[in-house]
């Protein structure tokens, strides 16, 4: 596939990194030449420098025969304009734009083909904010991922000594979690993946991925770890885009303090937030943390733009007694260095936010892609199309499917064919009822099932996608 990526910032670079390994032909456009050269040296792709919204630059990037345009520059206006130009002049089939401001998203008619011609818009800041918010709601989880429009949730937890999981074979789990259908999808021990089977015994320190229907997930969490007291007090360091969005989203649920270094920004924040307490100062300032009783804080979130600062302030907060710490860290090497030590959760904003984007790029019919363990592993939601003759998965039991080593089918979401009536502004409409089926060796996959597949390594992704593609004879 020929893909043009506009903007070589954090998001653009992460997208390029993820896609370059999947036999795509990628061109990156940015106006920072040095940045582009560095990127070109590291990855196998083409670069073009210039204004990303200019027709001549897009032409130079090969917009005529590109399959996909991903506009992820810092500027909403540039992204919108580029999509319009690509549509009008080059008729690029699919156009994705990053829109940071919520203003545009509130008017979907602006994005249709007669206006800015944006097929899909994404807001990385909002995705990261939503993601962190879920982590606050499930404080024990390292990752919380949703599939099938929120029907299925996968969580990653760290097993610890004396916990429910540790020391017993996996097949005993159903006895200990009656009435709950949950499955262990994967286990990572010292960064090595272990394929879970009924006899696998989890050791303390393992990272365990558990999947269940979303309605069950809280129960699973409760059973899994003795629930510490729930999160109440939250301190956010950094009142940037993500810090502000998060504070606004959770200020009515939790007791939130937001630390911001810049005085004028702090005043703006204080004007816009109603219940969160805005403090002016530095997240790495010991005296400030101490006076704001960090030792009684349930969650400390370091969300500034500076990853070194985030690491330092989160470590400091942990040492001073914060119950749980989270830091935004983009560099993979840093994440491996600090996660699990003083910093409980490290989040890479770029990796987190590109899942939606990746789903659009993938072959077959991929509904969701979540990058796991900072991009090392991936969870896919794939829709099975076709019939038993032309598709290698439909009509087969899971044990019969020729999945590559390291890939497991974790769950299936199936349309039951029934529907219930709901009302929207008094107009009735039918909502199909879906059921969540946990995968067992004898589960048979049917057409139009949403299949959630766990890949312990990214290399497996393309093989899984191929498996789900419909053979040529079908058309």
């Amino acid at each position: 596939m020929k893909i043009i990526i506009l903007g070589a910032g954090q998001v653009g670079t992460s997208v390029a990194e993820s896609l370059v390994s999947e036999a795509n032909d990628i061109t990156v456009v940015d106006n920072d030449v040095e940045h582009l050269n560095a990127l070109q040296e590291r990855l196998d792709l083409r670069v073009v420098s210039g204004n990303a919204a200019a027709p001549s630059v897009l032409e130079a990037a090969g917009a005529q025969d590109a399959d996909l345009l991903i506009a992820v520059t810092q500027s909403d206006q540039t992204n919108l304009c580029a999509c319009r130009v690509a549509k009008t002049l080059f008729n690029t089939p699919t156009r994705i734009a990053r829109l940071r401001s919520a203003d545009y998203a509130e008017h979907p008619e602006l994005l249709n083909d007669s206006n800015f011609a944006v097929d899909h818009s994404i807001c990385p800041e909002q995705i990261v904010t939503d993601y962190i918010r879920k982590l606050i709601e499930f404080p024990e989880a390292l990752q919380v991922l949703e599939f099938a429009e929120g029907m299925v949730t996968m969580i990653a937890v760290k097993a610890f000594e004396g916990g429910l999981l540790v020391g017993k074979p996996l097949k005993t789990i159903p006895q200990r979690l009656p009435n709950i259908d949950a499955r262990v999808a994967a286990i990572f021990r010292r960064d090595q993946s272990i394929v879970p089977s009924g006899d696998t015994i989890i050791e303390s320190g393992d990272e365990v991925f558990i999947i269940a229907a979303t309605s069950h997930i809280r129960k699973v969490m409760t059973e899994l770890r003795r629930m510490d007291k729930p999160i109440k007090r939250v301190i956010i360091a950094g009142g940037g885009n993500i810090g502000f969005r998060l504070a606004r989203a959770i200020e009515n649920t939790f007791n939130v303090k937001l630390i911001e270094r810049d005085r004028r920004r702090a005043e703006v924040l204080a004007g816009q937030l109603s219940r969160a307490l805005v403090l002016r100062g530095d997240g790495t300032d010991e005296a400030l943390l101490d006076s704001e009783s960090i030792e009684e804080t349930d969650m400390f979130l370091a969300l500034t733009n500076d990853e070194e600062d985030n690491i330092m302030s989160a470590s400091l907060a942990k040492q001073m007694g914060a119950r749980r710490t989270l830091a935004l860290i983009n560099r993979k090497s840093y994440v491996d260095l600090v996660q699990g030590g003083r910093i409980d959760i490290a989040i890479s904003p770029a990796q987190t936010s590109i899942g939606q984007l990746l789903a659009r790029v993938r072959r077959g019919d991929v509904a969701a892609v979540h990058s796991l363990r900072r991009g090392a592993a991936e969870a896919l939601e794939v829709i099975a199309h076709g019939d038993a003759k032309h598709c290698k998965v439909i009509g087969r039991r899971i044990e019969e499917i020729d999945l590559p080593e390291g890939a497991t089918i974790a769950a299936i979401v199936r349309n039951t064919g029934q529907s219930r009536t709901e009302y929207k502004e008094l107009v009735p409409y039918e909502v199909p009822i879906h059921e969540v089926i946990m995968a067992h060796h004898d589960t048979v996959i049917r057409a139009e099932d949403h299949v959630i597949v766990f890949c312990t390594s990214k290399k497996l992704v393309s093989q899984v996608e191929k498996l789900f593609q419909v053979g040529w004879g079908f058309f």
Binding site: K257, E267, A270, G271, L277, V278, R280, L288, S291, E292
Partner: protein, 485 residues
């Protein structure tokens, strides 16, 4: 004198227009044939002649007024009108001193509603109508003052409301803007008054009583045609109607205007002050009623609620109608009512006191300081209706409130020095500065201000004007800087 002569020119014009106000009592005098027609016609001629003369003499000094002239204009306009309006009173009652007559008209025009007159029940209808008309005209003046003039002058943090003045204001000249704003708001005011009068008549009052009390209710003035005030009617329906219209009058008229224009009742909910006024008044009514009932003042709770509601709304919203001698209630009740009069009314209403918006800012500022003690690094601007208020506005509000309460304390001292007892002195000053009317003690609900000496009467007249003009606009005229070039 540079500032004085152009202002005098405007005053002359206003005075000529003001003389038209005599038409209403003249009509009443002819209709009821109460024998005061000649006096009112004479007063009208004097007023018109005086106004035209002042206008003519200062004509060469006519110029567009500057914002600074506003202070002088609003101060002198109230004093001069009050002085001129005494003429019919002086002509009809030859025993009445100018001091008392001036108090009465000042009380009318500042919508205070305190009176020095007795035997009101038997007074000529034209005189009663004149007193109430002064209330009503004062209310009109205050609406313009509060919605247009004070925000423009930035008195005591009121520049806050500058941006929210309704009407076509962008790019328009200041004078045109005030005129348009005023017209729109007066329309609301007149409409409400007509509705109130009609309802009161429906409830059984004579047209004269209905119109007079509607005038006094909408202006939150509180004059009555009876010595016993609204208590004379002893009618729950009348009290209920008056409560409703007093609460309406205690809201910002700009909000009414917006609500009428957008035909959306949610406009009221969005106005922070409306929520404050209604919340505080409702809570106080039920609470105080419970208290006086449990203290045994009334036999049953509904009766207590009826009487407490009417008197508390009336005094608390700085109106001044009375239906009971509330001084006989446990002392907490009247004091709480007097306290409410200081803080409850909305800005842009016809009510007095420091206004709800300043009360809210004061409370938020206090809370802000408390938070700052616990969290020294906190950044927490005072927010009203979701937007942060600049610090200079907060400081202006604090300065205003300080000056207001110092005025209360100092003027109370002056009355005590002049021989009044403490409770009466405090009651008289609070009743005057809030423009509520009835005070406590010798000037309480069961009596009136006639017992005061001439000096004390003048002090009260001055206090009413001070409160009406939000202290600062009057005080600034007495500072040397104001007159320096």
């Amino acid at each position: 004198m540079d500032a004085l002569l152009p202002v005098a020119n405007v005053l002359g014009r206003l005075l000529s227009i003001f003389s038209l106000a005599y038409l209403m009592p003249i009509g009443a005098a002819i209709f009821y044939n109460d024998g005061t027609t000649a006096e009112f016609v004479a007063a009208m001629i004097i007023s018109l002649g005086g106004g035209l003369m002042l206008f003519g003499v200062t004509r060469s000094h006519y110029r567009e007024l500057k914002p600074r002239d506003g202070f002088l204009l609003v101060s002198t306009v109230w004093a001069l009108m009050a002085a001129i309006a005494t003429i019919p009173l002086l002509l009809v009652y030859d025993t009445m001193s100018f001091t008392d007559a001036f108090f009465e008209t000042m009380s009318g025009l500042t919508t205070t509603g305190a009176t020095v007159m007795t035997h009101l029940d038997g007074a000529p209808p034209a005189i009663n109508l004149w007193r109430h008309e002064l209330n009503w005209l004062g209310g009109m003046g205050i609406i313009v003052l509060a919605v247009a003039v004070l925000p423009m002058l930035g008195v005591g943090g009121m520049q806050l409301y500058k941006a929210e003045t309704p009407g076509p204001m962008k790019d328009a000249k200041l004078t045109a803007r005030i005129a348009d704003t005023a017209k729109a708001l007066w329309l609301v005011y007149v409409g409400m008054t007509i509705a109130c009068a009609a309802l009161l008549h429906q409830a059984g009052l004579s047209w004269l009583d209905a119109v007079c009390h509607a005038f006094a209710a909408m202006s939150l003035g509180g004059f009555s045609t009876r010595d016993a005030s609204v208590g004379a009617f002893d009618d729950p329906m009348v009290e209920f109607i008056l409560i409703i219209f007093m609460v309406i009058a205690a809201m910002n008229f700009a909000t009414h205007f917006l609500a009428v224009r957008s035909r959306d009742l949610r406009t009221y909910w969005r106005d922070l002050e409306v929520r404050g006024v209604i919340g505080l008044i409702a809570l106080s009514c039920f609470g105080v009623a419970l208290y006086v009932w449990m203290e045994g003042t009334f036999e049953d709770y509904p009766t207590a609620l009826r009487h407490v509601s009417f008197n508390l709304v009336s005094i608390g919203l700085s109106s001044g109608f009375v239906s009971q001698d509330y001084e006989k209630w446990p002392v907490f009740a009247p004091l709480w009512m007097m306290f409410l009069a200081n803080i409850t009314c909305s800005s842009g209403s016809t009510g007095g006191g420091i206004k709800m918006i300043r009360t809210l800012i004061l409370a938020k500022q206090a809370n802000r300081e408390l938070t700052r003690l616990v969290h020294p690094a906190v950044v927490n601007p005072v927010k009203v209706g979701g937007s942060a208020i600049p610090n200079n506005v907060v400081i202006a509000v604090l300065g205003f409130i300080f000056l207001y309460f110092m005025s209360v304390v100092m003027l109370t001292f002056v009355l005590i020095l002049s021989g009044l007892d403490f409770i009466s002195a405090l009651g008289a000053i609070v009743g005057s500065i809030t423009n509520a009317g009835p005070g406590l003690g010798v000037v309480g609900p069961s009596s009136n201000y006639a017992v005061l000496t001439d000096f004390q009467t003048w002090v009260c007249s001055f206090t009413m004007l001070l409160g009406r003009l939000e202290v600062l606009s009057l005080a600034v005229v007495f500072t040397p800087q104001f007159w320096r070039k």
